[in-house]
Assembly symmetry: C2
Homo-oligomer: 642 residues x 2
């Protein structure tokens, strides 16, 4: 049912639910005004996004579109059939950026590139420069690896963003033509369509749901549902990698290529939201739980295997070979956000927070100019870096440049993942200085989170005559907090928290304030005993931030000899000079004396042996997101404690 | 200098040193008569090797040779440019097998396949069915991936084996023609040769040394030296993978593709032996030490990375993703044997023993019909097997079938890696029932090793009038032993052991006996503290055998919940009924009670927390080599101890 009493503009971001959606929550309008994420978004707006067109020019992506449009001559550039998506993701980023305010230069870039995309489209709506130029127009012959529908998906997402953000329809027209073409070709047996098939890389599914939301055309939603449900029936050879081993509705854990799995699950959540499909919802909830309990790194990173960018087995969570693709972190945020809307549960915001501050944000350098495709939790002493896309050193751009524009689009649209509304009020999922509105309600948040734990929320707009509930997520990591609301004060022992939500219902007046103070004492974290990779280790965390040691802060030896003393207190030290201003955590440790065992590194186990002495050393831990911004060297998140 | 006083036949196996070689030791003649390895070799002789021609027929390898010979029509079969080597390795295995005794059937198979190889050779000596049939005869255009010289190397090795074992020259003629062709094409700048280049996969180097030994032609040795030294100069793009990042003489640790690295190092040892090149010897010794201390799994397995089959960083030794290719174990044995001859040191025999009994032997099933390409040290509960060559389940044959015939050739020639002689006497490196001879000396060994520790050595032939030294390797793992020789008895406290060798010098008479009793108490082993993957764990070992738990022996729960109690004694139980007869080790453990932590598997570290109670469980450990011979399921070598 449309919300008749709204005085706020609808949110312009991703996942604008249809009027008919069965979501528990709806995205709230939001504007980020200051603080941690504002700084990161400024770098995105002023460095990363503006540099996009130049990089897409150098890498040949725009050249390929010009070739397909007949507006240039030469060879196709790039090694992959999905290079067009770099352009589409950049367009999506630019669109969300334009939603925040006009920019003549950015608008000109967008207009120019949208025209190029439109010109490259074939008369019947098909568009993929690789297949048009390299494969002689041979379409849909290699659904497993061809990425044609994947490319269509990113085009559609970009077009929806462009339309929502600017009201302009040129790109949406291109996207609809392509979607209509796909709809005319693909369908189940008996539908009379030419191909009963799916794409080896999900993405078109959630894009089609968004296109349905933007246009109201139900057949896009149906097509998305068809694609989701045809996975797992052997159409692509039955491999887990491309999500074809088992139907989603029957799956018991996430598997295969991480980004493929997560985009498919985002679509499942979208479909459950839009259609009320309870079985799909149950599958998505089951798989989310299985993933978080058994296949998620501490950073929120996903995907344990380097080869095939795959999920590993349950509890297989290596540190030095963690893949944790930046795109997988982004896909995880997109999926969890849809789950939060669908269910109203706070835990999805917990994982989003952890992922944003750690596994996601590490993917871009502090200056917005260099990137990580993989996000390991450890770089060893003596590491020989392979270079290339999978390097553990930041790179200006990748041969497979999926991650950088993906980071850009998430950062540019980040305000849309922060708060929701329902008929009962407003829910704050993430603590970011800004303004959040749902219907007649508007609340301002001010905070220096995650450096400080105080979040002040001030009611700006409210219906005068009826109570509503302001819901604040108490983070899963938080052990101590206090909250004041007028005369009332609570702490973690007596606050009315249910399933992660601190709910305050009252008849509010403009200017009413609620102040939440989250305890940010640094803490040591251990893994599930089945996570072999972190046995006997602890990680330093503070608030939502995972910390790590870097070699550059620990001269005089390597990191692999260091042992953390868990009995000594952790100290917090804010360092405005360091890495753009970070709070470091200082811990006590020692360098192990490892006796020379000759040529064989294995020795009799001596469980009663006293801990080896060694030189004391002060450990300086920095937030994981800020690693690899100084000189190359070793890095560790998990530290041995004995 | 030729050994004028020899009354024994020269050993027929690999690495028959040239008269000019500067080796400290020379291979001894040997015949395996009974016991553990005899059984494995019987399976090899009666199942694996006889099935080879049929498998090479089904996989198309022989068909390709017939195509190249113009004796058949059809398409090339197989996906790799090195499929010919499966045939060559099988021929080498068959040749070593024929050296042990005649077999009409096997001889007929060998003759038939040798004729086929000869017929496929081109008039100028070139031979590679992939390039002849698929690449239109376009030679040496892709040295990085083409494997042309690698294929030549295996052909040469097979031909040397065929000649040494049977005295027949047909295959050696083919090999020499190919070697002469290569020598006419490849050479350093200024040599007037057409190509200054190396092969992306070393193998031809050590083969050319062997061809020099077999023919006395010095130019083959020089060509081998040229190839070894041209690695590391960027001829193949400078990548570590194909041993081109750094010259071997400057390298500080093993790196890149494990088999490539190890074959290259075997050639370096060969060259140092034949030429007295001290720098090359120093490099080989340095790299062996670096490899064993930082990059070797407990099983002797080598290569930490699944993608690229590479060595990892120092101390990066994962269990579930250990690659430990069967071929790398074989290459390691080949290299270490050459190092043992070159230096006379016992530690090389230590690593050979460990590798043979564990990382190598796991590569073939007990029935000799199924294989492992990768040899992980752990298969997790809930493992989703990817299938294909890299499966952790045994496979009948591989798409890339390098390992099975490689296992066959090592087993068939195993007697050549057991004992050596020098002017002072005989050295027993491995304890295998059989007869060992060097010059006028012959000794019989009888043992039920590794199940029992008693090894009885009886002098059968000896010069009557002069003393000589019988040297017995005291294994690196051995903490207690006793030795009796006539009236004299020692144990580990007073035995004359220097650097791993127990040396007994006397004037021997036929019938003199020395009895060594190696203590085989099962033991718990820990890793170097820097091996993160095994922190807080112990492995069960007994003698040279690494043990593991398999799911099938532990019903009632998974293996990843199990904790070993290191304070309780280990018990030995011989089980003649199990897995062809094995000694199991029974240990005390418990199943951990892991409290439900909700959806997030990480929790506050509580170092003072008491160990969690849990159900007691008797653990039955089997030798690692015998795993994966019953039903599929989890497996663990390293067991948590807290």
């Amino acid at each position: 049912m449309p919300r008749a009493r709204s005085t706020q503009p609808s949110p312009t971001g991703p996942v604008r639910l249809s009027p008919a959606a069965r979501a528990v929550l709806r995205p709230a309008a939001a504007a980020v005004a200051d603080g941690f994420w504002h700084t990161r978004r400024q770098v995105n707006a002023h460095t990363s996004i503006p540099q996009g067109p130049g990089l897409l020019e150098s890498a040949g992506n725009l050249h390929n579109l010009r070739l397909a449009a007949g507006a240039a001559e030469g060879e196709f550039q790039g090694a992959y059939p999905f290079v067009d998506t770099d352009v589409y993701k950049w367009l999506e980023a630019a669109a969300w950026q334009l939603a925040q305010g006009p920019s003549t230069e950015l608008e000109a870039d967008v207009d120019r590139i949208v025209s190029l995309v439109a010109a490259a489209q074939q008369p019947d709506g098909y568009l993929n420069t690789w297949f048009q130029l390299v494969k002689g127009g041979e379409r849909y012959q290699d659904l497993r690896w061809g990425h044609e529908l994947y490319c269509a998906g990113h085009l559609i997402q970009a077009a929806v963003a462009h339309h929502r953000a600017t009201g302009r329809g040129e790109l949406l027209d291109v996207a609809r033509r392509f979607a209509d073409h796909i709809d005319s070709v693909f369908g189940p047996p008996g539908s009379g369509k030419e191909i009963d098939g799916i794409d080896g890389h999900p993405e078109v599914e959630t894009a089609l749901v968004e296109l349905y939301r933007e246009t109201g055309e139900r057949r896009y939603l149906d097509l998305a549902g068809y694609f989701v449900d045809r996975h797992g029936h052997g159409l692509l050879g039955g491999e887990a990698y491309c999500q074809d081993r088992v139907p989603l509705r029957e799956a018991t854990n996430v598997e295969g290529h991480a980004v493929r799995q997560l985009y498919l699950l985002a679509a499942a959540a979208d479909l459950a939201t839009e259609t009320g499909d309870g079985e799909l919802r149950a599958a998505a909830e089951r798989l989310w739980h299985a993933m978080t309990t058994t296949k998620t790194h501490l950073t929120g990173g996903l995907g344990a295997h380097h080869d095939w960018e795959d999920f590993g087995d349950p509890y297989e969570l290596p540190n030095e070979r963690a893949y944790c693709e930046t795109c997988a972190a982004i896909a995880s945020v997109q999926w969890s956000w849809r789950m939060a809307l669908l269910t109203g549960e706070a835990r999805y915001g917990d994982l989003i927070e952890r992922t944003l501050f750690n596994g996601f944000l590490a993917g871009v350098s502090l200056d917005g100019e260099r990137w990580l495709y993989v996000n390991p939790l450890q770089v060893r002493d003596g590491h020989t870096d392979p270079g290339g896309d999978q390097s553990a050193r930041r790179t200006r751009w990748f041969k497979c440049a999926c991650c950088p524009p993906n980071v850009m689009r998430l950062l540019a649209g980040l305000e849309h993942y922060l708060a929701t509304g329902d008929d009962d009020g407003l829910q704050i999922h993430q603590y970011v200085t800004g303004r959040y509105g749902a219907g007649p309600i508007a609340v301002r948040a001010e905070t220096d989170y995650p450096w400080h734990g105080t979040i002040a929320l001030t009611v700006e707009d409210t219906p005068a005559d009826r109570p509503w509930t302001l819901s604040l997520r108490i983070p899963q990591w938080c052990r101590e907090f206090r909250v004041r609301c007028g005369e009332v004060a609570y702490d973690q022992t007596d606050a009315p928290v249910t399933e992660g939500w601190l709910r305050t219902e009252r008849t509010w007046a403009p200017g009413d304030q609620i102040v939440l103070e989250l305890g940010l004492e640094p803490r040591l974290t251990a893994g599930d005993p089945r996570v072999d990779a972190v046995r006997g280790c602890a990680a330093i965390e503070r608030g939502p931030l995972v910390y790590c040691l870097e070699q550059v802060d620990h001269p005089g030896g390597g990191l692999d000899d260091i042992v953390l003393d868990p009995s000594r207190p952790l100290a917090v030290k804010h360092r405005p000079d360091l890495l753009g201003g970070v709070t470091t955590v200082v811990a006590a440790g020692r360098r192990r004396d490892i006796p020379d065992a000759g040529w064989w590194p294995y020795r009799p186990a001596q469980p009663d042996e006293a801990p080896t002495d060694g030189e004391s050393v002060e450990l300086t831990a920095i937030p994981y997101y800020a690693w690899a911004n100084r000189q190359d060297g070793a890095m560790r998140v998990w530290l041995p404690i004995s």
